[in-house]
Symmetry: D2
Subunit: 305 residues, 4 copies
C-alpha cells in the first residue's frame, strides 16, 4: 500500500444517505355505507438523518427498521388515506417528530385508478374495474423545517394524428431527416409539479392539472414536441397559482409512415409503423421566474443520486 | 456410440412447425373526414405447410420471408383494418390461397384502445389518449379448409370489495387457511372465445362479451373464484349463440387483511396488503355440450407447443 | 329469448379445467457443511380432477385450497429439492395419491442459477452471484397412470457474427428483402424436451442438452434459422436416447447493417442496429419418427388452452 | 382571471432542459481477424444549451434533430467503440465543439456482456452467448469546460446464505420485527462511481471495481445492509485513487424463513420464501472527505429532475 492510498483511506466518509421500505402495496376499502370506496397505492418511506453508526459500525441503535416503516403505513391507513399527498405528509411528520435521529426523509406514492363497473347503466356499489390509464404519483420531502410536496403522473399516453410539423431544424453532415409538414405526434407524459405550500385540495388539483395537460396537447398546433411541452407547462402554471414549477419527461414515440411505393400503393399518412427504440426524449422544467431552486425537493423524485 | 443410438438417429424427423413475423406494430389512421379514426395493433403472422426442406437442408425455395409477411401486413392495412379478426382472416386467406407450400397458419393480433381527448366537453377530432384498460386479442387459424376465429381479451383487472366468500373446502395436514366469509375478490381476466363461424360483427360482439363478463363478475355473490369464472362463461354462451366455447385464465390476486392487533387497532376488512406472488390460478373452459374439440384452433392462442 | 337460446343454455358445461398456486418463490439452502448449496425456484402447482361442483355450485368440498398447495411446496422442500423435475414428481405423486378428487395435474418450475463468488480465486462457501443467463424450466404432467416429464430452458440468448446466410427464398410482389450472404444470426432459445421415462439424472441431462444446443448453434454454417433449429434438435436426440422429442421457439433477433453511405462511410458488416420489434419467429418440433403424440403432456407447458 | 394570475403568467420561463435520442441499440463487430469481437450497447444522447426558441416559439433553427444524434452514434461506431466511457466522451466533445447552441449535454450507455461459446473446450471465434449477469453503465456529462465521467453497474444480484445479522435496532409501538442472528442477505447492486479525471483505463477499472464489490460483499460479516454498503464503497475508494465517490442503491431482497411448525417440521434456516414487494431500500454515497459536490454530474444518472 502506498502512502497515497493511506492518505485516501483515512478520510473516506459517508455522504448523503436514506433508507426505508419501498413499494408497500396498500388497498384501502372505505365501507361506511353500501357504496364502498377503494384506494390502491404503492407507498415508499425513506428516512434521512443521523445514521452514520449503522453504516460505519453496524450499530443499529438509531435505526428504525424498514419493517416498522411498513407497519406504520398499514396502521395509519386504518384512519383513511384521503389523498396520497396528505397520507405521505402524515407519515413524514410522524417519523420526523418522533425519532431524534430522523431529520428528514422522502415519502413517495403511486396511486392506481379504479372505476365502478356499470351494471344496467348504474355504477356498482362494490365492484370495480382498473382504469389502467396513467399512474398518479406523489412525493413528499422533509428536510428539517422544510416540507416540499410534488404531485405528478406517469404513462399518460397521448397521440395526435395530425396538427404536428417538424422542419427548419439545424442540419449537419449526419442529418438525413426530411422536413415533416404533417406527422403523428405521440408521447407518454411524465410530469411532476411542485406546490408552493402543503395546504391544497390535492385530489381536485390533480384532476385539474391532468385536464389542462390533455387539453393543451390536443389544442396546440405543434412545430416541435418541445413547444408542446412548454405550452402544457405554461398552461398549468397560468391556471394554478399554487404551483411553482413543473418538470416533464416526454419521449417522442415515433410513428413512421410506411413506404408502400414498392407495392404500387400511396400512403397519405394512413399506415404507420410504431417504433419502440430508439426514441426521442424531451425533458424540461417550466417554472415561474421568481422560483428559487429547491434541489432537495427533487432528489428522489426520479432517482436517488 | 451404441447401436441404439444409431437406430434412433436414423429416424429423427421434423414435427409440427410454423414460422413468420411477430409483433408488427401497426397504427392505421382513417382520415376520410376531419374526424380521424385510429386503430392500433400488434400483428403476428405464422405460416404452416411444406417447409421440410428449409429445416433439413437450408433450401429456402418454399420459404416466403418473414420480412414479406410483415410487408403484406402494412400493404393490406392501406385498405383499412375494420376489425382485428377480419384483418387476420384477410391475411390468412391471402397466404393460403397464393402459395402452394402454405397449407395453413396462425395469425394473431393485439389491439389497444384509444379514447378521444375531451376538450370543452367535446371529443376532439384528432387527439387521443390511450385507454390502458384491457388488451383486445384475436386469433385466426387456418388448416386446409378449416378456419377458426377466436376473439379475446387480457389484463381486464377487476375487484369486488365484498360479496365473496371461501369456506367449506377440503382440509389436510398442510391446510392452515381459515374460512373466509367476506373477502376481497380480485383477478385479471384473460378470456378467449371461439366463434362457430367467421361471419360475425366482431366489434359488436367484443363489446357485448366484455360487458357480460364485467356485469356477471359484479353481480354474482361468489363462493369461489371457480364459480365466478363458470358463471361468466355461462352468461356469455347464453347470450351469444354464435360462440361455441370460452376459455379463461384467472389469477386470484390475493388481498390479505393486515393484522393491526399489535398496534391496538381492529381491521374490519378495510386495510389490505395486495400481494404479488404466489397467486392462485384458476383456468377452465366453458362450452356447449355439443361442441367437438378443435385442438388445432387453440394450439397457438396461448403458446405453441 | 328465442327457443334457440334456450336450447343452448340448457347444455352449457364445464370443459377442461385446473387450479392451483402459481409462482411459489422457494429458496432452499443446504447447510450440511460450511459449504452451503442454494437452489432458487419458482414453483406452480395445478390440480385436475372432479371439480365440477365448485365451478357449478360454489361447493368447495373437493377443493384443496391453493394455499394448501403452496404450504405443501414449502413443507416438502424441508427434505431437499434435488432437481426441479424430481421435486415436481414428488408433488404430483402426493396430490394424485392422496385426494380422491384429484386425477391429475400439472406442476411446473423455473430454476435460477447462482455461481459462487470468487474470493482470491477461491469459490466462496456461502456467498453467491446470480448467473442471469438462461432460466431452466421443468414441467410434470400427471393424467391418471400417465406421467410425463418435460425439461427445458428459456432466454438462452446466442449470436453468431458470421457463418449465416439467407437467400434463394420465395419471392412475391410484397418481397423487398435482398439476399444475405453474410449476416448476424441471433436468437433467444426456448426449448422443451420430453423424456421417455421419469427415471433420469435430470441435472446431468440438463447440462448435456444445454451444451449440445450451444455447440450446434456455434458450429453449423447456417442457411436459415430453421436449419439451425433442426440441427440443434437432431443433435440432442442423437446424443440422448431417453429424449423423445424437443420443441423450440426461436425469435430471429434482427441485427440490421446500418447504411453509412450518406456519411461517406462503408460498413463491411461492422455496425448494426439491433431491432426490438417486429422479429422473425421460428417454431418447430424435432422428434423421433416412432414418437406418438402426447398432447396432454404439452397442454400447460407454454400456456393453458 | 385575477391580477395575481396575470402577474404569474407574465413570467413563466423555461428552466433546465435537454433533448436527444434515447436507447440507440448498437452492436459493433470487430472483424480484423477470424476471432471476432462484439460490443453490444444502448446509447442515449441529450443536448443542453440555447434551446429557448424551440420551446417558446417552435423555432427549430438551433435544434439538431434527435435523428441526427442517432446517426452520429452509428457513424462514429464505424471507428470502434473501445469502452462505453470513451465512446460517450467522443460524442460529447463532438456535439459541444461543433454547434454554437450546444453548451453541454449528457451521454449515457448500457453495455451487455457476451461470452464466447465453448466448443470442445475452446472459445469459439464468432459464436457468443449473452452473459446476462449485471448491466454495465456509463454516463458522461459536459457543462461548458467541465467534463464528468461516471461508470457503474446495475442488477448485480448477490446473496449470502449466512454471515448476516440484524438486531439491536430502535423499537417503537409499530415495531414487530424480531432480532435476527443468522439471516439470508440478498440485494441487487446498483452502483455509480465518479472518476476524478477522464483519463482512465475504463475497461480495466470496471473489472477491478466489480471484483472489489463482490469480494467485499462476500467477506464482510454483516450487521446491517448499510454496513455492507459502506464497506463496499470504502474498499473501492481505498483501492482506486482516481475515484472520487461512489453511490449505491441496494434493495434488501427479503428471504423469509418459512414457519413449518404447523406441519411438525423445524426449519433451521433451510427453507425460505423470496418476497417481491415491499422490500427494504438502502441508498448512500461513499466519498472522499475532500470531494466537492458536483450535482450537475449526477442530474441525469438516475433520472432527470
Amino acid at each position: 500500500m502506498t502512502s497515497g492510498d493511506l492518505l485516501y483511506s483515512d478520510n473516506i466518509v459517508l455522504g448523503a444517505n436514506q433508507y426505508g421500505k419501498a413499494e408497500c402495496r396498500l388497498v384501502k376499502v372505505t365501507r361506511d355505507s353500501e357504496r364502498h370506496e377503494i384506494e390502491d397505492l404503492s407507498i415508499t418511506s425513506q428516512l434521512r438523518g443521523d445514521f452514520a453508526d449503522v453504516h460505519l459500525h453496524g450499530d443499529n441503535a438509531n435505526c428504525l427498521p424498514t419493517d416498522t416503516q411498513k407497519n406504520t403505513v398499514y396502521a395509519f391507513a386504518r384512519d383513511g388515506v384521503g389523498s396520497p399527498e396528505e397520507f405521505l405528509l402524515r407519515l413524514g411528520r410522524h417519523f420526523t417528530a418522533n425519532f431524534d435521529a430522523v431529520s428528514g426523509g422522502h415519502w413517495a406514492a403511486e396511486q392506481y385508478e379504479w372505476q365502478r363497473i356499470s351494471v344496467d347503466n348504474e355504477p356498482h356499489n362494490h365492484a370495480f374495474v382498473r382504469s389502467g390509464q396513467e399512474t398518479r404519483t406523489a412525493n413528499v420531502t422533509v428536510d428539517g423545517d422544510n416540507i416540499w410536496v410534488i404531485s405528478g403522473l406517469t404513462d399518460l399516453v397521448v397521440l395526435k394524428s395530425t396538427g404536428s410539423e417538424f422542419h427548419g431544424f439545424q442540419r449537419d453532415p449526419y442529418t438525413t431527416l426530411p422536413d415533416a409538414h404533417d406527422r403523428i405526434l405521440a408521447t407518454s407524459v411524465t410530469a411532476h409539479w411542485r406546490y408552493l405550500s402543503e395546504k391544497q385540495d390535492f385530489n381536485g388539483m390533480y384532476a385539474k392539472v391532468k385536464s389542462i395537460l390533455l387539453t393543451t396537447f390536443a389544442n396546440l398546433h405543434s412545430l416541435a414536441l418541445q413547444q408542446t411541452l412548454f405550452a402544457m407547462g405554461k398552461a398549468v402554471l397560468e391556471a394554478c397559482p399554487d404551483i411553482a414549477e413543473i418538470k416533464f419527461s416526454m419521449p417522442n414515440k415515433h410513428h413512421f409512415n410506411v413506404d408502400l411505393g414498392a407495392f404500387g400503393l400511396d400512403n397519405p399518412n394512413e399506415v404507420f409503423f410504431a417504433a419502440d427504440r430508439p426514441y426521442g426524449l424531451i425533458e424540461a422544467t417550466v417554472q415561474r421566474e421568481s422560483t428559487r431552486a429547491t434541489p432537495l425537493a427533487w432528489t428522489s423524485v426520479t432517482g436517488f443520486c
